[in-house]
Every structure is written in structure tokens, then in C-alpha cells.
């Protein structure tokens, strides 16, 4: 055991540990690179204008993804419109009206459960409650399923962002004679606005890629839907269906769609990062804690 000196052994252990750390990082980055290269290699050749102008075709014919793209936009937009206001209000409650009570702790806990609940279970729930009741699949059911996913994200981020607003601001506004609602709406919301917006963008990024809940609610549509009461085409389910099929032209469309979704979501994530970064950048630095 004394073959190597103690010091050397310690240095060796250190070197090994650091090497392992670098290997792990390479491991993680390897997958990212492989994934993105596959996406680009298989999707880029099929990115063409017809994706945006033609609807999904039956097997053996040429077509595009227009109805799926629009459908996804409708579903995610609807999900955000339904879920974000509810989430913002609930987050406001937790931050402004009831920060430390038993009730708010319970609500935070249940919110976290909702946040981590598998989205397929939420899809089953919305199916039982909405689709069966309505009698058919519909875009409404899809929007509701996505809204259920949006709410906890927005609640969480809104509360956090509102909490960061210093109480001095609130007190100053109250000292000027503003009622509480005014304080919140005119002062606190304004201060936290970009943070809340970041949260909404993140929720948007999250639901854009959700497939499982839509399988039981909005289903899919070969054509353009003429209303929100019918099943509606959407990118994730179309990608699912086309990728699992044995048809080459469907595969091409699936990869092109996958490329669109991925880079759309990445763009959203980067945008929300930029928003929050811009907000936090000029402020007092974290000094020696450095980041």
C-alpha cells in the first residue's frame, strides 16, 4: 500500500475524479449532439414551403403539415389563454394574500403534485370528464388538457416572481393611498411583468411538445378542422402517427415536423432566458459567488 506515496495517491484520486467528471459531461453532450444531428440530417432535407401550405396527406401522396401546425398553435394558444390567467391569479393569491398560512402551504403542495403529474394521467382525466361528457373528441378537450398542464407552471413562476418584488415598493404605494388591488396590479405586476411572462413562455414551451394528453382529447384530423368542436390536427400526434407508420413520405414529414417543434421550443426557451437574463443582468451582481 505504500507503493505510491500518500500525496501521489491523493493526486491520482483527484485526477481520476476530474477525468470522470469530464467523461460524464462528454456523455451528456454526446447525446445532445447525436440527437440534434439526427434531427437536422433527417429533417432539414424535407423542410420546404409545402409544409406550411398543404395539409397532411394520405399515405402515398405529397402534402405538408399546415393543418397540424395551425392546430398546434390553436391548442397551445388556447391552453395558455385558459390556464395562464388562472395560474397568475392563484400565484398572486399565494404571494400577496396568503403567504404563510396553512392553506397556502397545502395549495403549494398540491400545485407541485399537479406540476409533476404525468401528462398522460392528466389526459385520461380530461377524457373522462370532457370527452365522454361532450360525446366526441374536440379541440376544446385538447385545450383543457394543455391548460391543466400550464396552470401549475404559471402558478409556481408567478408566485416566485411576485415574491422577488421588494416590499418597499408595496409599502410606498400603500403609503400613497392606493388600495391593495391597485398596489398589486399597478406596482407589483409591473415590476414582475417580465418574470411572469417568462413563466408563461416556459409553460408554452412545455405544452408545445406534449403528445400524450392530446392522444385522448384532441385526437387528430386529416383535414382542416372547421371548428373547435371537432378533433384537430396537431404536430405531436401527427409526428407520432407518421413516425410509427411504414410509409417513407410520412417519415419525411414526421422528421420535418420534429425539426420544427424542436427548434421552435428551443427558440422559446432561449427567448425566455433572454428575458429573464435581461432582467437580472444589470442588477447587483452576485459578487464572489460568481455565475
Amino acid at each position: 500500500m505504500k507503493v505510491l506515496g500518500l500525496y501521489t495517491r491523493r493526486r491520482l484520486a483527484n485526477a481520476l475524479a476530474m477525468a470522470a467528471a469530464m467523461l460524464s459531461t462528454a456523455f451528456g453532450l454526446l447525446w445532445l449532439v447525436w440527437l440534434l444531428t439526427t434531427l437536422l440530417a433527417r429533417g432539414l432535407p424535407w423542410l420546404q414551403l409545402s409544409l406550411l401550405t398543404q395539409a397532411t396527406p394520405p399515405p402515398g401522396e405529397a402534402g405538408g403539415l399546415a393543418n397540424a401546425i395551425v392546430g398546434s398553435a390553436v391548442l397551445t394558444g388556447g391552453g395558455i389563454l385558459l390556464g395562464a390567467p388562472l395560474g397568475i391569479l392563484a400565484g398572486t393569491f399565494l404571494s400577496e394574500f396568503s403567504r404563510r398560512s396553512r392553506l397556502s402551504n397545502v395549495i403549494r403542495f398540491t400545485n407541485d403534485i399537479l406540476l409533476s403529474a404525468p401528462s398522460i394521467v392528466l389526459g385520461v382525466f380530461v377524457y373522462e370528464v370532457v370527452v365522454v361528457r361532450m360525446g366526441h373528441f374536440s379541440a376544446w378537450a385538447g385545450m383543457l388538457a394543455l391548460a391543466v398542464i400550464v396552470v401549475p407552471v404559471v402558478v409556481r413562476t408567478t408566485e416566485e416572481m411576485l415574491r422577488l418584488v421588494p416590499d418597499e415598493l408595496r409599502e410606498a404605494a400603500a403609503a400613497l393611498g392606493a388600495p391593495q388591488w391597485r398596489v398589486i396590479v399597478a406596482v407589483v405586476y409591473r415590476a414582475a411583468f417580465s418574470g411572469i411572462l417568462t413563466g408563461v413562455l416556459l409553460a408554452l414551451a412545455r405544452v408545445s411538445g406534449e403528445t400524450a394528453p392530446l392522444l385522448f382529447t384532441a385526437l387528430n384530423n386529416q383535414f382542416w378542422s372547421s371548428g373547435l368542436n371537432e378533433p384537430i390536427a396537431n404536430l405531436p400526434v401527427v409526428i407520432f402517427q407518421f413516425a410509427m407508420s411504414p410509409y417513407d413520405d410520412w417519415h419525411h414529414l414526421a422528421w420535418a415536423g420534429a425539426l420544427l417543434i424542436t427548434f421552435g421550443i428551443l427558440g422559446l426557451s432561449i427567448a425566455s432566458r433572454a428575458l429573464s437574463g435581461a432582467r437580472g443582468g444589470g442588477r447587483g451582481s452576485r459578487g464572489s459567488r460568481g455565475r
Binding site: A21, G28, V121, Q180, I184, V185, I261
Partner: protein, 325 residues
């Protein structure tokens, strides 16, 4: 009293509280209650939907490996085992990797490299699950089947006990592939929690250790890890919760077989992929109810894991309440 917003029951001028205030507070309160109601509603609805199956099969439902739509006998064992095995294996791969990444980003990387690498790892989290699924089926599985799996089966398949884990035809898909893809999906979450937790360690502690001549590894092992133990556990549990519920990526590559196999290279099933494949087509009350029961089990599992994670993370808040700026 600066920790909660001014709780004015009266307007500043001393008058009674305004209608607008009441409305606003009321609607915020309703919104918060709605969130609570939603979660309770989900649990209730799932319980209601599972009732017929649970009534018929009783607690044996969890232990039965049967899944026969013809004779209407269902059991949760296969999907449940599949979910647990894939998630556990995924964590076994992801946790060491995440440690490595967190160490690299916090200690090793030069400042210029730090941010890009951190961002790159986080990009893994932004990629939707279905993309992982199609990549897994089209790119990874063939590569695995052609190049890695035969080698693994040949060299590890003959080991005395563990060999059975690695046998089977080189299909490329199966429990192992699903677990690997899950681990890649979980790595960004776990590693970013670890990163955060490592960064909160007070510099004085680390600097004192360095001042005594400790190597980076020793500082990590003896200062950082013990200090951040609870947070790391919380992060791991959060990652586990995510792995348990993952659907689309798994559905593509797990092979959808309602059978228990000893081998990791054989197809299996998880609760979420069973739901994704069979829910819209389950005919008959027992079949549908059994599937909803599966959903309830999954919901319960993630609930438990999440509750534990929160408990741990709550404890950190208390523990390090004094040590931080």
C-alpha cells in the same frame, strides 16, 4: 413584518375596504382554491374510474401479471415492474453522470466553457419527449442492435447470475433502450439541481479546506457532498418523478409486451406506455377500469416520490436558513 404583503383590512385612509379589493382578493382566492380542487378532482376521478377493477381484483391487482382482454383478467404487475425497472435503471445511469456534469460545471470548467456547457445540458430538457422517441427508434435502436447489443450479449450474456439480464435477440428496442433514453431525459434536471446546490456551499468552507491543502476531489467529497446531501437527494427524487411519468419516449422503444422477462434486452411495458397504446381502444368496463387503475397507481407513485422530495428540500431551507446571505 416585511415578509408578507400589507394585510390592510382597511384602506389607508381608514375607510372600509373597497369593492374592487374584495373582488380581486376573492377571485385570487377562488383561483387558488381551483388549483386545489383540480388536483383533488383528478385523484377522485381516477379513483372512481378504477373502482370497478379494484373491486373485482382487489389488492391482488398489483401482484397479477395477467393481462387478458379476452377473459377480462387484468393485473398491474407487468406495467408496474416495467415502470419501476426502467426508472430505477435510468436513475442508476443518470445520477453518476449528473454528478460528473455538476462537478465539471462548478469546479472544473473555465468560465468561458461553463455557460455554454450548462446551457447545452439544459437544452436536453427542452427537447420534447416524442423527439426522444423517434430518435430512439430510428437512430439509436438500429445502431444499438447492429453494433452494441450483439457484443454485450456475447460478453455479458454468459455471466453466471447476471448473464440472464443481457440475453435476447438483437432487436435494439426493449427495457434497456428505454431506460437509457429515460436517463438522458432525466440528466438535465438532476444535474441542474446538483449544480445549484453545489454553488450554495459557502465559499468559506471550501476555502478553508483548500487552505489546508485538500485537492478538488477531497473538497467535493468531504465538504460539498455532505453539505448538499439533502438537496441532492431532493433533486434525485425530482428526476425520479419525471422518469416515472415519461410516456412518449418510452412507448416508441419499449416494445409493448405484457410479459415479464428476466432480460433487459427484451421488450416490456410501462404504465404510461400501456395507457398510451391501449386506452382509446379498451372495450369493456373491466378493461377501461383496469387502465384507469394503472393511471391511479402511477399518480400515487409520483405523489409519493414528490412528497419525499419536497420534504427533503423543505428541510434544507430550514437547515441552511442561517448560513446564507
Amino acid at each position: 413584518m416585511t415578509q408578507s404583503a400589507p394585510r390592510t383590512r382597511r384602506g389607508v385612509s381608514g375607510g372600509s375596504v373597497s369593492l374592487a379589493d374584495l373582488l380581486f382578493r376573492g377571485s385570487a382566492r377562488i383561483a387558488a382554491w381551483l388549483v386545489l380542487a383540480l388536483v383533488l378532482g383528478i385523484g377522485l376521478r381516477l379513483a372512481l374510474g378504477s373502482a370497478p377493477a379494484l373491486a373485482r381484483f382487489g389488492p391482488g391487482f398489483l401482484a397479477s401479471a395477467e393481462w387478458n382482454a379476452v377473459s377480462e383478467r387484468f393485473g398491474a404487475l407487468v406495467p408496474l415492474v416495467g415502470t419501476l425497472v426502467t426508472s430505477t435503471l435510468a436513475m442508476l445511469i443518470a445520477v453518476p453522470a449528473s454528478f460528473g456534469i455538476a462537478i465539471f460545471v462548478t469546479e472544473l470548467a473555465p468560465p468561458l466553457v461553463r455557460r455554454p456547457v450548462a446551457m447545452a445540458i439544459e437544452l436536453l430538457a427542452a427537447i420534447p419527449s416524442i423527439i426522444y422517441g423517434i430518435w430512439g427508434l430510428f437512430a439509436f435502436a438500429p445502431f444499438f442492435a447492429d453494433h452494441l447489443q450483439p457484443w454485450l450479449t456475447e460478453h455479458l450474456g454468459e455471466l453466471p447470475l447476471a448473464g440472464r439480464l443481457f440475453q435476447g435477440p438483437p432487436m435494439g428496442i426493449g427495457v434497456f433502450t428505454a431506460s437509457l433514453i429515460l436517463s438522458i431525459m432525466v440528466i438535465p434536471f438532476v444535474s441542474s439541481v446538483m449544480r445549484d446546490v453545489f454553488e450554495v456551499v459557502p465559499h468559506e468552507l471550501k476555502e478553508s479546506a483548500y487552505a489546508m491543502g485538500a485537492t478538488t476531489w477531497e473538497v467535493l467529497r468531504h465538504v460539498v457532498f455532505p453539505y448538499t446531501r439533502v438537496g441532492v437527494m431532493g433533486g434525485i427524487l425530482l428526476g425520479l418523478g419525471r422518469a416515472l411519468g415519461e410516456t412518449m419516449a418510452v412507448t416508441f422503444v419499449i416494445g409493448n409486451a405484457h410479459r415479464l422477462s428476466a432480460s433487459l434486452f427484451m421488450p416490456g411495458n410501462t404504465i404510461s406506455s400501456a395507457l398510451a397504446n391501449e386506452f382509446t381502444e379498451a372495450v369493456g368496463e373491466m378493461y377501461t377500469s383496469s387502465l384507469v387503475a394503472l393511471g391511479l397507481v402511477l399518480f400515487g407513485l409520483t405523489f409519493v416520490v414528490l412528497a419525499m422530495a419536497r420534504l427533503l428540500l423543505y428541510r434544507i431551507g430550514r437547515q441552511s436558513g442561517t448560513g446564507r446571505a
